[in-house]
Amino acid sequence: MGSELVRDRVADTKTTTKYDQGMLLFNKLKSWAWIIVRAFLLIGLSFVILYPIFLKISIAFKDKADIYDTTIMYIPKNFTLENFQMVFETMGYFEALWNSFVLSGSTMLLTTISCALIGYGFARFNFKGRNILFGLVVFTILVPPQTLMVPTYLQYRDFDLFGLISLFNDGSGIRLIGTYWPFLLTSATGVGLRAGLFIFIFRQFFKGIPQELEDAALVDGASVFRTFFSIMLPNAIPAIITVMLFSFVWQYNDVYFTTLYLDNPNVISGKLLSAPSTIGHRLSAISGGGDATDPLYLSMLVNTAVLLAILPLIILYMFVQRHFVESVERTGIVG
């Protein structure tokens, strides 16, 4: 009797262990499957993003002779830096890059400062017409700047402030087209490139900071500006970084305003836009005129120009990537 019971029990435990082993195997398989699927997804996504860049790099180092060699897919037989040299010279690369950085850097700083102040005002101060004003800010996000092309152009071709400038300037405003002033003025006054969105970001972020912090500052005798600079701004670093990065990159990439405000946009985005034209002209000048330019060679050079144009951003991204991911997470802004 007793021994039977024991046997039963043993059998029982045996079956349970068998069952457990099955479970264990299943779980193991499941986790492996998940790892494989995940790896597959990640590799696939990375491929989609990295493939064009690798392709560009591979083409940029190819020699002219490699274009028609059918045995070459990705790795060129004759490594050459000729493409880079050619593009550097025709684009005036370093000068354009310097200009781009000066322009994007200065508008980035001004936009961040002005939008932070405006956003703080909307988040914390109750004044008449606040909602209407904020509605107008949202309106600037909705209305595409392309619809205001001629007025924008006229505004800065004959720039005036309540008729004051023309009083001292023989009845006409100042011509700001062809200078960086339109960029600086718009970003300093919070109406620059996508400033509406940045104001929105700051407003949301400041609204999320507890009121008690400010109350404490007030009790300690801080003025409004003191509170803003010593309490609010240090807490808003994620929002600041997000705005700075976006405003820099968008200004760097922008073609619409640079071609509208500048007669001869000597910045990377403008130079890239005219790259097919300038490089084509250069090639036909080298070959001694005529329409004998090889379109494949031209596209190879244009490709190199594109790589050189995005390279600074890629390098920049490597350094700020950590802040970027963190700050975008915390401000809840995507894309």
Binding site: P144, M149, V150, R157, T259, D263, S274, G280
Partner: protein, 231 residues
Amino acid sequence: MEPIIKTVKMSKHFGSGNKKVELFNDVDISIGRNQLVGIRGRSGSGKTTLLNLFGALDTPTSGEIYVEGQLLNSLDSRQRSELRRTKMGFVFQSYGLVPLMTVEENIEFGLRIVGIPREERPDRIKRSVEIVGLEKRIHHRPFELSGGEQQRVAIARAIAPGPSIILADEPTAELDTKTGFYIIQAFHELIKNTETTIIMTSHDEEILSLIEHVYVLEDKRVAYEKNETTV
């Protein structure tokens, strides 16, 4: 026939005193209807300013400008805007296409601003897209198009309301020579099929050699040159 644009002793100066810059002095030109007209000059010679003067975007220092027989000097800014909206189409170096709208929507948007009734819009869109040869791209968005195609959309948007004058500032500046030729071809198509006059600036000799009527800016004067074109 009455010229579409006529200037009488038109001068344009900038600044005053030591910094005074005289762009034009006593310019008399008249531009005939239904022509493709090119304006040539070095950079800084005042091509854009001349185009702005024609487009009522700028006023001359002295002298008169007539557009379709109407004296521009006498118009106030509201009337100028009205004139620009109803009679003129602008094509800038900057294409100014709304990135979120398709080709069709971009053109319709231009028509809506001019106040063309809804029923007429599809036909006009179709016609203008045909002239610039972009029938297959009508549902694409600007970033899916090449530079030349984007410029052609900008041209289609400018011609869709049926303006009597199209002012194009360096429409081929950012395009390679071949694409630039296509644009000129589209312009030739346009003056053949419609009543429009097209005035464009360029610094590209090859492009200008395809245009019959060319005005050259030199020494504060505007000289006329006639090209023998085969296009």
